[in-house]
Homo-oligomer: 339 residues x 4
């Protein structure tokens, strides 16, 4: 593909995730455009494609993947459709971001592995998005430094307000704990060797018949334990927390938004050393907001008036610094344009 052009992406699946990814690629991220939207429901595909200039709707994934302006595929169809979608993408040797799960079971996942090996190079990124969460990324980075020593235990909490109506007891494992399975492997760098699932009394807040919460213990081939509280009808909020216990300290994410460690007699975290770290997101949002408003033909955000007032107040402040005492600020009357 031509690296000077934006990447043309075919999004397969126009449901909640697919729609959100189309918005993301169109409005948030850089370097790509949504070239195609695919859904078995043709109206749904058209409606979503219509949000993006030059984006084509398809019902057939294969047709989308052969379109001239499609360079890569994002699979957000239901899990059972993933295997077929992946195999078509392999036929056209296209890079794929496949939402989790890769496929619905281990047997079909094996077939995908085999097909990708026949291609002879990796084509697939699976959508385990926790690896990209800033907190999890900081936790991984800390573990990688080795300063806490070897990881021995990982305590996970995974809580949802309420489960959707179709949720079954086994989906707490296959749909929810699947994230902790990946997080455990990624954070610890171990494979999982055995699984035990304990069933406390079901919550009165869970639908009748659902085993909720569950407590899952994963044993790794590196001798570590990873325990997971999965509680999908906790009622109070969505919470994902992880605490790694290492030989010389612990590190925890998910309580607020910071990484908190216990090490050598102290608990706490790091302080930013620079404004570019503290306000990185603010700058990104400032520029994105300005671009979006400008493209709509609008001017929003702090105005020239705000700039003028800041200058006038700071001038009074500098006089107050130099002369001592209280200095009043004299502003011109606010012009109509800025009201």
């Amino acid at each position: 593909m031509n690296r000077r052009k934006p990447l043309g992406i075919a999004v397969i699946g126009a449901g909640r995730m697919g729609t959100d990814h189309v918005r993301r690629i169109h409005e948030v991220t850089s370097g790509a455009r949504v070239a195609a939207v695919v859904d078995v429901d043709t109206e749904r595909a058209k409606a979503l494609a219509a949000r993006v200039d030059g984006c084509t709707a398809y019902t057939d994934p294969a047709a989308a993947m052969t379109a001239a302006d499609v360079d890569a595929v994002l699979i957000a169809s239901p899990g059972p459709a993933h295997e077929a979608d992946l195999l078509i993408a392999f036929e056209h040797d296209l890079p794929v971001l496949c939402e989790k799960p890769l496929t619905s079971d281990a047997a079909s996942a094996l077939r995908v592995l085999e097909a990708e090996q026949r291609l002879g190079h990796r084509r697939v990124q699976v959508g385990f998005m926790r690896r990209f969460d800033p907190e999890y990324a900081k936790l991984k980075a800390l573990l990688t430094t080795g300063q806490l020593g070897r990881p021995l235990m990982l305590h996970n909490r995974h809580r949802n307000v309420a489960s959707p109506p179709f949720f079954t007891s086994s989906m707490l494992i296959s749909d929810s704990v699947a994230h902790e399975v990946d997080a455990t492997r990624w954070l610890l760098g171990h494979e999982i060797a055995a699984v035990t699932v304990l069933r406390p009394a079901a919550s009165a807040g869970a639908p009748k018949g659902l085993c909720d919460p569950q407590f899952v213990v994963l044993e790794t081939d590196g001798g570590a334990l990873s325990d997971v509280e999965i509680f999908v009808n906790c009622g109070f909020g969505y919470q994902v927390q992880a605490e790694v216990v290492c030989e010389r300290g612990t590190a925890r994410v998910g309580d607020g938004n910071a990484l908190v460690t216990n090490m050598a007699g102290r608990w706490g975290g790091t302080i930013a050393q620079d404004w570019s770290e503290r306000f990185e997101t603010a700058y990104d949002r400032e520029i994105q907001t300005w671009i979006d408003a400008t493209r709509r033909g609008e001017v929003t955000g702090p105005s020239s008036w705000d700039g003028y007032v800041a200058a006038a107040v700071c001038e009074a402040g500098v006089r107050a610094l130099e002369e001592g005492g209280r200095v009043e600020v004299a502003l011109m009357e606010k012009p109509a344009l800025y009201r």
Copy 2:
């Protein structure tokens, strides 16, 4: 301008801020491209422009602003150059994002206000980026609900590790406290009526002769007080904190990354209700990372192998749930492709 095309931006100033904004527009944000880079130092302009395909280097702002592919201007030149840059942008009726300060003093800012009024419509957004910081935005949103009552006081902390060599005592006001001046006006919705600056003993960690720290008290026309600790050689980190004290409660940002309130006998904050809120950034970063890697011709992130293992472990987990006891996980040997 054609809303279907990306916005063509001329970035004026190829210093630290200009360079960072070029990176941001090119690699992070959506909907715009850097069409021109302007700097009095022609080599610096060329070096920065070369990072973006199809971007032209200029030394003359006016030349850049008349280029066909320039739709908007981002001014990141030194403050004393802002007035001239703004007036040229007004001549061409271009939308402008002007880094703070708008201009170097109140008199020149007034001239800009007058010129913009002659245009008859607003063209300028000033770069007070704190308004776009997620924490400040949450604080503003909370104040807007009115549930805390009227704001009475605002306590601000603004700390830098060390000041640059050229920093003067008055720059603590005009360069640093300028942010709190805008934040106070924006958060409280008041104008500032008077300023007092108190000078505690200078820190031994500050350069000789610099009044650092300072303590600034802003009085607003709404009867509120906003106090600012400005300490630009605190040594330990970069910290920006704000606590609003209202008639029925307080709200604070900047300790970690969350908004903490005191209200009705309880302190604390809100819990996300949905994964899309908790992991929004993770999804954005996941997609951006995939786009970037794909454009480089690489495959990174969780692999098909990771997808397969998750499926296999979850299958064992479901058996453990259904049958009770400990279930071992049987994995195929890891293929060479994924090692």
Copy 3:
């Protein structure tokens, strides 16, 4: 006095503070007994004295202070009575704990100072109890180590739910900020050289006419600034917070119950190193609870049954450790005595 006997204390004033101190000396602290209670209201004195065996009620402080079993005086009478009470105690050369304020104004305080100097030795401890708060004590201890460098600023918050009906605007200073005046002097080791009081708009939650909140700036002879937010009708709770800003770091108390520092790129606090530190209060309360119950002829707290069950569960646990797998706990039926 005979150090082998408990200290005999005369408590002057049977109001809220006096009553609470009688309870404290009688039921909480060690090494003293309430020998006398004094109040101008004879019924009130008698009612309070009746709570303690062998305690005598008086209306005349001088009579109490000459009683054979009185070794020391605790003054908890209204402020305007303090001077007279103190001078009588000096006549009898008795040690005094005098609730704050020492006296109602500086002139009468001077007379007390002079009288104590005539005695030739110190006799008075003034009731600035914050110096004995574990958090303030930790803050003071940290400052004393010098590891944060010289203190430059102290930010104080002092908030009450609601002020009593008799409270006046000047009492926010003389009654409430008096605590921060002492805390500032004690923490920083400086004298206070000047005071400024700023008046933000009064809260709608404050009684009509009361200047509440106020913002007080204390300047010390050591060049430090101490600012105090005093807000006695904040509505949401009672909060006392202090943050010291030093040359190389900051330290804060009052958010929760821990001392939080910013130093060298990290925020956080210390972790106990020993159970005796973590559970010191638990042991104190355990023993006091047992003494109190035993004196009442009762047995409360964990029973022999609890001790037996712990032993039985731990035996099962040791088997589970040694043999692997899940071990059931076999308990005898709970005897009636322990139900």
Copy 4:
């Protein structure tokens, strides 16, 4: 016993715990005196008894328990001696506080239960001191309100810096997890029905051969799970944490010193409503410090000078409030007596 006299206590065992309890009863708590100290090592008994006026040393527990001034017994001897000590106390029908464990195993504990039943009334309180920790007590109180719903899971962390040389793998259960066994039963109000112990890889920081850490899962007869991380060589500090997960929320203690809950979309805790709650400990310590100093013939704490200065500064403050502006504080020179 005569309720008007202090309770006379015989402390059995003059080791670390016994010594600490003697100090506690003598110097901290109210209403009791140490009448006897018993230890098989007569010199050790004498040395400890010598710290308290009128306290007698014994080597024979029975002799101490028949002394006229002994009303109650505190057993702090080694665990294997507890059974015999308890049976003697029962003979004399004395109230007992018995340090944990009650006895060394379930069989001997059963014999104690039977003996106490023969007495016909409860005589023993077992030293599970966590029930008296203010945080655990708040957690229990919150659970008792029922506002979080039924408890489903309890997550416990129990970490020590380093284990003593004699510690064995089974002592992690019988000596350390014994506390969580009692805490689980007390907090949840359930009995424990089964135990599983998992053994992650041993930490390199643990003595060779010691299974440390361990992960213990307790199943209760109420259907709840209580998991315990026990890690006695964690290196960084002593930490005891507990998080209860209920049907409608969670509550956690041990991170700092406060109870933090998740409920109905919010995390956080309560704010004190009154100074007597916030500063209860400060008042207790203030009075105890004053009593102790006075008995030593010393005067410490805030002096009359501090009282005078507070009055003078507050007078300046009131003038600053009434007149506006900055008011200087005029103090007399500090007299020699207060330097």
